[in-house]
């Protein structure tokens, strides 16, 4: 009960940009909660720097961004800001409306996974858990 491997995964679920449609992020937050994760849930309309600060202070294992109205185009900026804050090892996933032609660019920018409409609960939960687990192992073996 006391080792960090058994701590529940901590996941930041949020939205960046100006779109406030947060139904999707709420549903995913509930999926992850029901899978035993601790979900730090924020209001939509977050700025990139605010997300970096929250991810750092909350010591999360993964960031999940919901995007329904082109906010996914801000993700490269988020990844850059995370790297600048020494959080480059933190996995970022996105779900929502991401046009196929944008997906490759997001993956190249460092987004670990894009969930399109129709993604199942199992798929989301298992992917998030696997990436979070990987991030924790990564952190343990970091050298200084």
């Amino acid at each position: 009960m006391s080792t960090s491997a058994q701590r529940p995964y901590r996941v930041l679920v949020s939205k960046i940009g100006l779109d406030g449609h947060d139904r999707g992020s709420r549903i995913v937050a509930a999926y992850l909660r029901d899978a035993g994760m601790e979900v730090i849930y924020t209001a939509p309309w977050q700025e990139v720097q605010a997300l970096v600060r929250m991810a750092s202070d909350e010591d999360v294992d993964l960031i999940g961004i919901s995007s329904l109205a082109t906010d996914h185009l801000l993700l490269p900026k988020l990844l850059e800001a995370l790297r600048a804050a020494d959080l480059g090892d933190l996995p970022v996933v996105v779900g929502g409306i991401v046009p196929d032609e944008d997906e490759q660019a997001l993956i190249e920018a460092g987004v670990r996974r894009v969930f399109h409409p129709g993604s199942s609960r199992d798929e989301i939960v298992s992917t998030v858990a696997a990436l979070a687990a990987e991030a924790r192992i990564q952190r343990k073996t970091e050298s200084f």
């Binding site: 009960m1 006391s2 080792t3 960090s4 701590r7 529940p8 937050a29 509930a30 992850l32 909660r33 029901d34 899978a35 035993g36 994760m37 601790e38 979900v39 730090i40 849930y41 924020t42 209001a43 977050q46 700025e47 720097q49 605010a50 600060r53 929250m54 750092s56 202070d57 909350e58 010591d59 020494d86 959080l87 090892d89 952190r139 343990k140 073996t141 970091e142 050298s143 200084f144």
Partner: protein, 323 residues
């Protein structure tokens, strides 16, 4: 080369030094460590101990939906106006079934996210039985050692008798909302009794005056009516009454200084020890079955032994000890 701390590969004293220097990433990682408990946590807290005891610990509790998070958000702004640094430990409930949690208190504290003088951390309650008081008090110690001048502990939405926060805080504020019950509710024992400061939030509600009156009568009827408990009205969403609340908290804290903070700290330690020891006994007892325990249980079931006598017999015996 990374400056992001991996506590597992560090000595406790290295991490402690970074926490004391105010390094945010180290503070964040240290909180995860003490929250998990165990040996790493104990070593880290030991290394931090001499830097603790400076922060003012304010507990904010009250029923779900009375506006605790909004009030805390407004209080952060007020304290920041006075150039004081503020940490917030915002606790939300874990599911007893899956262990998962939605930690949503930040939704009401968005404006302070990028302020370097503010450190907000969401905590899941992760079960009960004293564990929460313990984890919260450890996290508060880390934030204290990091040099944050005020640590605000926002509890889960509390019921009438969940008073764990007094195990941890110097000053406990109980937040009420208008229209949640009649004057008999205000007379009942429990949460209201432990308040050092009472707040009726949502004061723009027409019912607020009635609620304030009811709480005033309740305070006047107390046997320790000499103990002055400030009763304030706030409308936290519009920052109404917040400077007055900050004043009341300052005064309550200064009064505490005169009474002797050291004694209060000992009382807190005693309550914490009682809560945690009780939790350990309960957990072990529920996980133990054996011949001697079964004998005790059988006698209880048969009506030969009442629960209290059995409990005393149990504590005197070593039936529940595992090591």
């Amino acid at each position: 080369m990374s400056v992001r701390p991996a506590v597992e590969s560090w000595g406790a004293s290295d991490l402690a030094a970074r926490v004391r220097a105010g390094n945010r990433a180290s503070i964040a990682r240290a909180i995860s460590t003490v929250e998990a408990g165990g040996k790493a946590s104990a070593e880290l807290l030991k290394a931090l101990h001499e830097a603790t005891g400076r922060a003012r610990l304010f507990g904010i509790t009250g029923a779900p939906g009375v506006g605790k998070s909004t009030l805390v958000g407004a209080l952060i702004a007020e304290l920041r106006n006075g150039y004081q640094s503020v940490a917030v430990i915002a606790v939300d409930p874990s599911s007893p079934v899956t262990g998962g949690a939605i930690l949503g208190d930040r939704v009401r504290m968005t404006q302070h996210v990028e302020d370097d003088g503010v450190f907000i951390r969401s905590l899941a309650s992760r079960g009960s039985g004293g564990g929460l008081s313990l984890a919260t008090s450890r996290v508060a110690e880390v934030l204290d050692a990091a040099g944050l001048e005020n640590v605000i502990i926002e509890t889960v939405g509390a019921g009438q008798s969940e008073i764990d926060v007094i195990d941890v805080a110097d000053i406990t504020t109980v937040v009420c909302a208008p229209g949640l019950g009649d004057d008999i509710q205000a007379m009942k024992a429990g949460l209201l009794e432990v308040a050092d400061v009472l707040v009726v939030n949502k004061a723009d509600d027409p019912m607020a005056t009635l609620t304030v009156n009811q709480l005033e009568s309740m305070l006047a009827l107390r046997s320790d009516a000499g103990r002055k408990v400030p009763l304030l009205k706030t409308a936290a969403r519009d920052a109404v009454g917040i400077p007055e609340l900050a004043d009341a908290l300052n005064q309550a804290f200064e009064k505490l200084d005169q009474q002797g903070r050291a004694e209060r700290r000992l009382q807190r330690m005693q309550r914490l020890l009682a809560t945690v020891a009780g939790g350990i006994v309960a957990r072990r007892l529920k996980a133990t079955r054996g011949r001697r325990l079964d004998q005790l249980l059988t006698r209880m079931a048969a009506g030969e032994l009442d629960v209290e006598t059995a409990a005393v017999a149990l504590l005197k015996s070593d039936v529940w000890r595992q090591d």
